[in-house]
């Protein structure tokens, strides 16, 4: 199987042949069940749609609301998500090299470099439009605009205001974008789907407060595509519904994800998508990620009477955007709600928006609130920046520290 993934021609052909998606679906039905099956099917179907070009393929940065794309009948395609996938299957180094040899500097976020490398290697589906938002990832708008020039397709930037009171400008831009594309949006259908999924997601987040932990952070972060891309789709509803059902069942049966779990941790930012031992190391120490900041429902349900406002609000309300004081308060609330013993903040190489807040968070959590905080540095997709031994020591020492704080030795 690995050899096939290393065969460029095979991959390119497979991505463009309908039969390969049918085979993938059969495997998903055969091998997976419950919410995992829904997640696989969602990803297979959306990828197929992106490549077969029956609907407009809209490349977008991860923080553009998927509801906007579904409303105009488009297929959202997020190169950042694709970067995570290729990292998972061990192909990232090759695509990173490709981007680096085309003047994409090592200091840029590896996710963006990897996305660019995938485009340069010819793996990506051709876009009809490209939409980037300016919030959080400063590199996204640049590399996506660069890609739009390569493909000669329209590029739209949604300049996302930092403060809520400046929302009008964003609303205006969303309206103009839709007018320019010229497709009448079907907000009603898409918003209804999004809000249904939202209700199940809310239930999931409530269930995750229970002890023992019944849904691991590792799994949740592996499925983060669903957070980025599934809202507004039918499959999104099914996924969160089945996830809620599974968690309810696990709680009823007292089925924690590890035996003798001792510590509940909160994970900030995303996780590395290549093979690594981070979560196994924590499990060995009886610690599990009970919740992740990326699983927060940071937006309000979408209002069909105010569609542009709702979409703009969803963007501005992002947990990683806006005043640091609010981010800190959100994290403190999560610590309280999820009965957290310690916080791990992952710093992605080249990620200014996330890394710039780590010092403040460390001081606020550890010094002001006596909550153990570990900042680990690494890379989400580039395994060349991963040092297992050193990371293991930090993680183990962190759990030992929590253990001592709780009276053990």
């Amino acid at each position: 199987m690995y050899k096939l993934f290393n065969n460029k021609t095979f991959i390119k052909k497979a991505l463009n042949i309908g039969l390969s998606y049918e085979i993938a679906k059969i495997i998903a039905h055969w091998k997976a069940e419950g919410f995992m099956k829904e997640a696989f099917l969602f990803n297979i179907e959306e990828t197929k749609k992106a490549y077969n070009n029956n609907k407009p393929t809209v490349w977008c940065s991860t923080f553009v609301p998927s509801e906007l794309i579904y409303s105009i009948g488009g297929v959202p395609f997020m190169p950042e998500v694709a970067a995570g996938f290729v990292s998972k299957i061990g192909m990232a180094a090759e695509t990173l090299h490709k981007a680096e040899s085309d003047w994409f500097n090592n200091d840029l976020c590896s996710i963006h470099r990897c996305g660019t490398g995938l485009m340069l290697e010819g793996y990506m589906p051709e876009p009809d439009y490209i939409i980037a938002s300016s919030h959080l990832c400063d590199g996204a708008k640049r590399y996506l605009q660069h890609i739009s020039q390569e493909y000669e397709v329209p590029f739209y930037l949604l300049e996302t205001s930092y403060y809520n009171n400046e929302i009008k400008y964003l609303i205006k831009q969303i309206k103009e974008l839709i007018d320019d594309i010229g497709i009448t949006p079907n907000f009603e259908k898409v918003f209804k789907r999004s809000n249904k999924a939202y209700n199940y997601h809310k239930k999931v987040n409530e269930l995750r407060k229970k002890d023992p932990v019944v849904f691991s952070g590792e799994r949740a972060l592996n499925l983060v595509t669903m957070e980025f891309m599934s809202f507004g789709s039918k499959k999104g509803i099914k996924f969160y519904k089945k996830l809620a059902n599974t968690l309810e069942k696990r709680i009823r049966n007292n089925e924690g994800i590890i035996d003798q779990q001792r510590y509940r941790l909160l994970w900030l930012h995303l996780k590395p998508y290549y093979s690594q031992e981070i979560f196994t190391t924590l499990r060995e120490k009886k610690a599990v990620i009970a919740f992740e900041e990326y699983y927060q429902l940071y937006w309000e349900k979408l209002n069909i009477d105010k569609p542009y406002y709702s979409l703009a609000k969803k963007m501005i309300n992002h947990f990683g955007w806006g005043e640091l004081k609010e981010q800190k308060n959100d994290i403190l609330e999560l610590i309280n709600n999820y009965n957290i013993d310690g916080v791990i903040g992952f710093s992605q190489w080249g990620c200014r928006q996330n890394n710039g807040r780590m010092g403040m968070l460390k001081k606020e959590l550890k010094d002001e609130n006596n909550i153990p905080f570990l900042n680990i540095h690494g890379d989400l997709v580039d395994s060349r920046n991963y040092q297992e031994g050193q990371l293991r020591t930090r993680l183990q020492a962190f759990v030992e520290l929590i253990d001592m704080k709780k009276g053990g030795k």
Binding site: K366, D367, H377, Q387, G389, Q390, R392, T393, R394, Q396, A397, E400, L401, M404, K405, K409
Partner: protein, 260 residues
């Protein structure tokens, strides 16, 4: 009640044996290419000296980067926890530990009861560690054990901007070519290490009292600049390389007591 701590570091392997918390023996050897074999050898050496057998030791804790492979240890604990406890046992007032080892450096802060409160380790390269000094000593053709004293002969450090071994090596070569005295270059190198360590100290919070551990503690040049920059005296163990193993042996003692 006999307990032992074995600290398998990247450069050296250390063993300390305690009898009811009393330090009765120790041994150190270069780790080399086969850390498992070397750990066995060092352990056997100290046991021979003490006329003991492995089964006489009631509890063994392994620490250091090679801890995971020590099959004869009862438990494996990180060097952060072990250094914390070791320094606390030697200097009970210790609030901060500066450890500069062979290939890593760390700063650990302890709470009032001597438990680890926070820590920070160097990034993945060996910048500003013992290995960094070894490479520089080699470049300057000065025996490693003499670089501390030699650096003290200069009051004026050369300007070394980096603790990256590769970058600093280039700087040292340039300075040598310019005819700058070795003592001045060494003082500059030591200052660069201290600058990096003080930055790490501030990240976990500067709390008096500070204990320095690790092999670089033997270097008077680093030690003197560190005290000068901090503005106060710091604790210096007589056997700084053994602090991790000593902490591990003490932790073994605590574990054993809990079990009984």
């Amino acid at each position: 009640m006999l307990t032992a701590g074995i600290d398998v570091g990247s450069r050296t392997t250390k063993v300390v044996v305690l009898d009811n918390q009393k330090w009765i023996g120790e041994k150190i050897q270069k780790t080399g290419a086969n850390s498992i074999k070397r750990a066995e050898e060092v352990f056997d050496l100290v046991l021979d000296e003490l006329d003991l057998k492995k089964e006489d030791i009631n509890y063994i804790i392994a620490t250091g980067y090679g801890r995971v492979n020590i099959s004869f240890a009862d438990e494996k604990v990180t060097e952060i926890t072990c250094h914390g406890l070791g320094a606390h046992k030697l200097f009970p007032g210790t609030k901060t530990i500066i450890d500069i080892g062979g290939q890593d450096s760390k700063v650990i802060s302890l709470d009032d009861s001597g438990r680890v409160d926070d820590f920070i380790m160097n990034d993945k390269c060996a910048a500003g560690t013992g290995r960094f000094l070894e490479v520089m000593a080699d470049n300057l053709e000065v025996p490693l054990e003499n670089i501390g004293e030699l650096s003290l002969k200069s009051n004026e450090p050369a300007d070394i901007s980096s603790t990256c071994t590769v970058f600093a090596e280039s700087e040292v070569i340039s300075l040598v070519a310019e005819g700058v005295k070795k003592s001045k270059i060494l003082r500059g190198l030591h200052k660069a290490i201290v600058r990096k360590m003080i930055g790490m100290v501030h990240r976990v919070g500067l709390n008096k009292e500070i204990t320095m551990t690790g092999g670089v503690c033997h270097n008077n040049g680093v030690y003197e600049i560190l005290e000068k920059e901090l503005g106060f005296k710091i604790n210096r163990p007589s056997k700084p390389q053994y602090v991790g193993a000593y902490g591990a042996a003490n932790l073994a003692n605590i574990k054993l007591k809990k079990q009984n």
